[in-house]
């Protein structure tokens, strides 16, 4: 009786073990497409094109491209991932070993999430400048108002062009899809070990 139970258990464990090893290999983790919005750039469109970047106006992006861009801007890390095959056609995912880059030109009146962090930093700098000029008479070749205007121009340029870096990679190790497959293979390994022992013992 006990022998029958052990035989049944070993058979079940061996079958589970083989299935648990095979299943993850048959359904591997799909690669994902990363989209990261950079810190903006002080260069204007023609300068960027001269440097080899592709500059695309936001309104010329496909619907999918616009959605991904907005989602990337919305996320806390300015990064948004989608499964492979769900990206936007205009994004250069297959740029070889280096990530692909594309510059997106934001329209003035678009209701988009705010651009990346250096614009805010420039805004803070302008506020500090205004406070300082109010409290003391600044000296120098450029008056505070001129300096504020220059900063405003730079802010506008930075706020207009966003460098989006895209790449296709495996998801990180801590991604649930990876952990699920690790669990399955580990389970298969242990099941084969225990099942094999139960089957072999006298």
């Amino acid at each position: 009786m006990a022998r029958d139970i052990a035989d049944t258990a070993s058979t079940v464990l061996l079958v589970v073990g083989v299935a648990a090893l095979l299943a993850p290999a048959l359904f591997p983790v799909q690669q994902v497409l990363y989209h990261q919005v950079g810190a903006g750039t002080a260069a204007n469109g023609s300068q960027l094109e001269a440097e080899g970047y592709t500059v695309v106006a936001y309104e010329n992006l496909s619907e999918r491209g616009q959605a991904i861009y907005v989602d990337a801007l919305d996320s806390a890390e300015r990064e948004y991932t989608v499964p492979a095959g769900m990206g936007a056609p205009e994004f250069p995912y297959d740029a070889g070993s280096e990530p692909g880059e594309i510059v997106i030109e934001r329209p003035d009146d678009a209701e988009l999430p705010p651009p990346a962090e250096p614009v805010d930093r420039l805004g803070n700098e302008r506020e500090r400048l205004a406070e300082r000029s109010a409290s003391q008479n600044a000296t120098g070749s450029e008056s505070p108002s001129e300096r504020a205007r220059t900063l405003e121009q730079r802010r506008e340029v930075i706020a207009t062009y966003d460098l989006v870096t895209v790449r296709q990679e495996s998801p990180p190790l801590t991604h649930p899809a990876n952990l699920l497959r690790l669990g399955a293979v580990a389970l298969g390994t242990v099941a084969l070990g225990v099942g094999g022992y139960l089957r072999s013992r006298p």
Binding site: L22, A25, P28, S97, L182, V185, V194, G196
Partner: protein, 282 residues
């Protein structure tokens, strides 16, 4: 009974060992974790897979000899000390049957272990990267098996050559130290010792090929060279030092020669061990 019967009986006894299954499971989990955690910086999946198996080769290079020696060191010495060997030879078996049967059985046990480790690593790697470069997997398996067979042969030969269990253990540990560790520990590296003797003691001109030849006598170095045979040419690693970047290694230091090194290490210890066993007073 023949050598095959002895091999069957010995294998049946070995596979009943709980500790053997525990070790096999732990090794399977180890290769799973290595395959899971391995990643390389922005390389295509196939290239990452190949790099993983090269890394696995580095791990196997140190690990498989231990597995082979532990599985095999008691094969004949244990039976000799317990008296089981006299019983075996009391049946119509020759010493050659016993020797060959033990070699075959222990080789089967370690082959099963290597298969298990390769299968778990491959399953995890395919799940992670979605590719299966079959030639790399099969090649790694074959080369690893040859490498393990060398140490099984050495361990069984040592086990046949000594009369006691304790001496078999000492001989196996010594073999691991002399054939593996001495070639990788910084400071006591064989190549450095030979270089010191050649240049400093005898005052000869440096001869990199000589130092490489001495290094190449190690099964471990041969295994690392043999791994180059199973990966694409652009992924091959430089195992032996060259005099300069433009220098090419002489033919006798080529990757293919690793198979000859394996063959020598496989045959010579077995022949010596068998001859010692034939002459031994049991």
């Amino acid at each position: 009974m023949s050598a095959l019967d002895i091999a069957r009986k010995d294998f049946a006894a070995a596979r009943r060992s709980r500790s053997l299954w525990v070790v096999a499971t732990l090794l399977g989990l180890l290769t799973t974790v290595i395959a899971f955690s391995f990643s390389s910086y922005r390389t295509p999946p196939t290239e990452t897979f190949v790099q993983l198996f090269q890394t696995m080769g580095n791990v196997f290079g140190l690990l498989l000899p231990i597995v082979a020696l532990v599985v095999s060191y008691m094969s004949i010495a244990g039976e000799r000390e317990s008296g089981g060997l006299k019983f075996l030879l009391g049946l119509p078996n020759t010493r050659r049957d016993v020797f060959l049967g033990k070699v075959a059985s222990r080789l089967t046990v370690v082959t099963a272990g290597v298969v298990f480790m390769i299968v778990t690593a491959t399953a995890m790697a395919v799940a992670r990267h979605g590719v299966l470069p079959l030639s790399v997997v099969v090649g790694t398996f074959v080369v690893s098996l040859l490498y393990t067979a060398v140490f099984v042969g050495i361990a069984v030969a040592l086990s046949a050559a000594v009369a006691e269990r304790s001496r078999a253990i000492a001989a196996s540990v010594g073999a691991y130290f002399l054939l593996v560790l001495v070639y990788v520990i910084p400071g006591v590296n064989v190549a450095q010792i030979v270089r010191f003797v050649h240049q400093t003691l005898f005052g000869f001109e440096p001869n990199v090929d000589l130092y490489n030849t001495v290094l190449y006598t190690s099964p471990l170095i041969a295994y690392r060279k043999a791994m180059n045979l199973v990966v694409p040419s652009d992924a091959q690693r430089q195992v032996l030092e060259r005099a300069s970047e433009t220098d090419t290694l002489p033919g006798y230091l080529g990757d293919e020669v690793s198979l000859v090194v394996f063959a020598v290490w496989l045959v010579v210890p077995l022949v010596i061990g068998y001859l010692r066993f034939e002459e031994a007073d049991l």
